[in-house]
């Protein structure tokens, strides 16, 4: 009886807001937007958790973090232990607490969410992970080496998660990364203002402490190949090379000066720190008017980055309506607060340039939503004669990425699907080649950080079983 009273009370306590930088201020700096909970607020939020005996939230987490357990530790004020519990399942909790779409994962399953607001699991994860990172004590004990060696291609979320679990199982892991720094999309794609790069590097340093070796500047497919790795003594290989091939739409003017792929635009800004030019040597530039084509998270990141680089008008150009936008609602709202403008139900038809072949304007066509198609989705239909031209200086194409073919084309016998993604077993993530596993965006196509991490963990378990049976 008293327990039920307690539960009813908890349902009524509203979820604690995340303190953020003011939109007007943050739109002009690259500092992190969300500031994080204070210990007091974290404890209060943690106390909202009902500590369910059969927690649904864990089912919603692709890496099965021990959610009620770590939240209980926060409620008790034992932040260090909370951070340790988090690390048992998640090698990069400070990252996940920031970039996971919790509303469609763990938090969507929270019982409190039925009648009230779900527990802010992501914000608590971030709080505990940040605490663990600062104290530096939340490390896991070393295990007995198995003598098996695993090569991982790609140091993005899938590869790092896979490496973490394999190291915990006692296997010797070497990651081969093409860029000069590990982290993949966490370093080159997601902006500093959403995910500070120092945090990514601290999490990666923890992995190294667990014995994971990371070799940068190694373009597999060029400097070595999957077959060579297997010949050179690796007992298994995991391919986690992601979806790093930018798609460009087929309209005139895409090679003009001022047209970027989102990958280039974000890589220059984030990885190369172009926003600090000329202290850092890589330039990145935007004009007064910037159009971002697309409406996913990458488009929101690009638009908000353009604003911070000094653009006056930044437009998202998207052929469907706000309701169909693939971006997270939180990212969309942040973009709106900061002053990003939206051209919805609008599709670009051409980019015009001046005599120097620099972008001058963007020509678009207005759309309306037509009848529902076979899938029940109302598809956008162009409105005849609705063409209009907007002055533009910079265009960022953010309509998606495909699998980079460098590794797949240099690996004979690897079965791919029509889109060029690797075909892997649903359970073990083993590919058509024995001992070669794959996971993350290279298998699924562009998805989320946490799904890639989930795939990395799944592959680690598949690899572990494979090595033990060998």
């Amino acid at each position: 009886m008293t327990e039920n009273v307690e539960k009813t009370k908890k349902v009524k306590v509203p979820r604690h807001d995340m303190p953020c930088q003011e939109p007007k201020v943050r739109a002009h700096n690259f500092e992190e937007v969300a500031l994080g909970y204070t210990p007091e607020v974290a404890i209060e939020e943690a106390k909202r958790c009902l500590q369910c005996k059969k927690p649904k939230c864990i089912e919603g987490c692709p890496v099965e973090v021990l959610i009620p357990e770590f939240i209980k530790k926060i409620a008790e004020g034992d932040f260090e232990e909370s951070a340790r519990v988090l690390k048992i399942k998640n090698s990069l909790p400070a990252v996940c607490g920031r970039v996971c779409p919790q509303e469609s994962q763990c938090e969507s399953k929270c019982i409190l969410g039925i009648k009230g607001e779900s527990v802010a699991i992501g914000r608590l994860e971030r709080f505990a992970a940040d605490f663990g990172m600062k104290s530096g004590k939340a490390t896991l004990e070393k295990v007995e080496p198995t003598g098996k060696r695993v090569a991982i291609i790609g140091a993005g979320p899938a590869g790092l998660a896979c490496a973490g679990d394999l190291a915990k199982a006692g296997h010797a892991v070497t990651i081969f990364e093409a860029l000069h720094v590990a982290g993949g999309v966490l370093m080159y794609g997601i902006p500093q203002f959403r995910l500070p790069k120092e945090i990514v590097q601290t999490e990666i340093a923890n992995l190294k402490q667990m014995g994971v070796e990371i070799l940068t500047n190694q373009v597999v497919g060029k400097i070595t190949s999957v077959d060579e790795l297997m010949e050179n003594g690796y007992d298994a290989v995991f391919i986690g090379t992601g979806a790093g091939l930018p798609y460009f739409m087929d309209i005139p003017g895409l090679n003009l000066n001022g047209v970027y792929s989102a990958n280039e635009f974000l890589t220059r800004t984030n990885l190369m720190k172009g926003y600090k030019f000329p202290d850092y040597a890589t330039p990145v530039k935007v004009g007064k008017n910037v159009a971002v084509l697309g409406a996913g998270n990458v488009a929101m990141d690009s638009a908000r980055t353009a604003l911070r680089l000094g653009a006056r008008n930044v437009y998202i150009v998207y052929r469907r309506s706000r309701a169909e936008m693939p971006a997270r609602l939180e990212e969309l709202e942040h973009a709106e607060e900061e002053g990003i403008q939206f051209h919805l139900l609008t599709n670009p038809v051409s980019i015009k340039g001046d005599e120097r072949m620099w972008v001058k304007s963007l020509t678009c066509l207005r759309y309306e939503l037509g009848d529902p198609d076979a899938s029940g989705r109302r598809s956008p239909v162009p409105i005849p004669g609705s063409e209009f031209e907007i002055p533009m200086d910079t265009v960022v194409v953010a309509i998606g990425q495909g699998p980079n073919p460098l590794v797949t084309t240099s690996t004979p016998g690897l079965v791919l699907n029509k889109r060029g993604n690797i075909v892997a077993d649903d359970e073990t993530l083993m590919t058509s080649k024995s001992g070669v596993f794959a996971g993350g965006d290279i298998v699924t196509g562009a998805a989320t950080v946490i799904l890639a991490m989930g795939a990395g963990k799944k592959a680690a378990s598949g690899i572990d079983k494979y090595l033990k049976a060998k």
Partner: protein, 280 residues
């Protein structure tokens, strides 16, 4: 880290650096390139490989001081180290026995044409090389090119050495002698590659050029290096850097090189005002 084991100054503002990079040296082929980054604050810049020694584990690059990063690199000495040195990148040149081939290197382009000429020679071709530069003091690697060529024609813009004229003058000289030229490689400034391609288009001689657009990652993930080839857009870093010169849109490629001109000047000016040849 990737240490400079040998340095040679080839001409005013042009340096040859032999860099310790065994894994790259084990795999590189003529026509490929590397991406280097000098230090933590540095940008990634592409450099076509001039030579490699698989046994010593070294890669040789030749670079001219034209801006911020190239100033830092040409100022490097033996024992200095690159923060990052990635490769081999790009598709290797298609080397086979074609019969008679012409290798045109203009200015700094003589460096990347060298390993191609050598490989073509080793494959049994009759190699005629055309070396073009502004003036006699800027001619680099002449001895090396003579060692891998059957014939060499030198041209200078000012006539201070060899024929007075441009790369096309040298090519015309070669063709005048009735050689049955099957393939031409032309590497150098965009304007030179365009004029060679224009010249050979009418003659229907297959002409391969090596494009040097702006690059960032060099692995096909950003498209900064995209160029128009025929009706298609190609990424020079993974589809090239070599392309059919008769299909490349050189005007667009040249204009794309200018996109960061203001920023490049700013970076250079900032470095010069700090202290000459200084480092941040």
């Amino acid at each position: 880290m990737y240490r400079v084991v040998k340095k040679r100054v080839l001409a005013p503002a042009i340096a040859l650096l032999e860099v310790d990079a065994p894994a790259v040296a084990a795999k590189v082929e003529p026509g490929q390139f590397v991406i280097v980054r000098v230090d933590e604050l540095g940008e990634r810049i592409p450099l076509t490989v001039m030579d490699f020694d698989r046994e010593k584990g070294t890669i040789t690059i030749v670079i001219q001081n034209v801006g911020y990063s190239s100033a830092l690199i040409t100022a490097m000495n033996e024992g200095d180290e690159f923060q990052d040195f990635v490769g081999p990148l790009g598709v290797a040149s298609e080397i086979e026995n074609h019969g008679t081939v012409v290798c045109i290197g203009a200015g700094l382009g003589i460096a990347p044409i060298y390993p191609i000429a050598r490989a073509l020679k080793e494959a049994g071709n009759h190699v005629i090389s055309v070396l073009a530069c502004r003036s006699a003091d800027l001619l680099i690697l002449e001895e090396e090119m003579r060692a891998v060529s059957d014939e060499v024609v030198v041209t200078t813009d000012d006539g201070s050495l060899g024929l007075k004229g441009f790369a096309t003058t040298g090519l015309a000289e070669v063709l005048k002698h009735g050689h049955n030229v099957k393939v031409i490689w032309a590497i150098g400034p965009m304007v030179m590659m365009k004029s060679v391609a224009d010249y050979t288009r009418a003659l229907r001689i297959k002409t391969i050029v090596s494009m040097n657009p702006i690059m960032v990652d060099g692995t096909g993930m950003c498209g900064a290096c995209r160029i128009s080839v025929g009706t298609e857009t190609k990424f020079a870093c993974v589809d090239g850097p070599e392309f059919d010169g008769h299909l490349v849109d050189f005007d667009l490629a040249r204009k794309r090189l200018d996109y960061y001109r203001d920023e490049e000047n700013r970076a250079k000016a900032r470095m010069e005002c700090k202290h000459e040849g200084g480092h941040h």
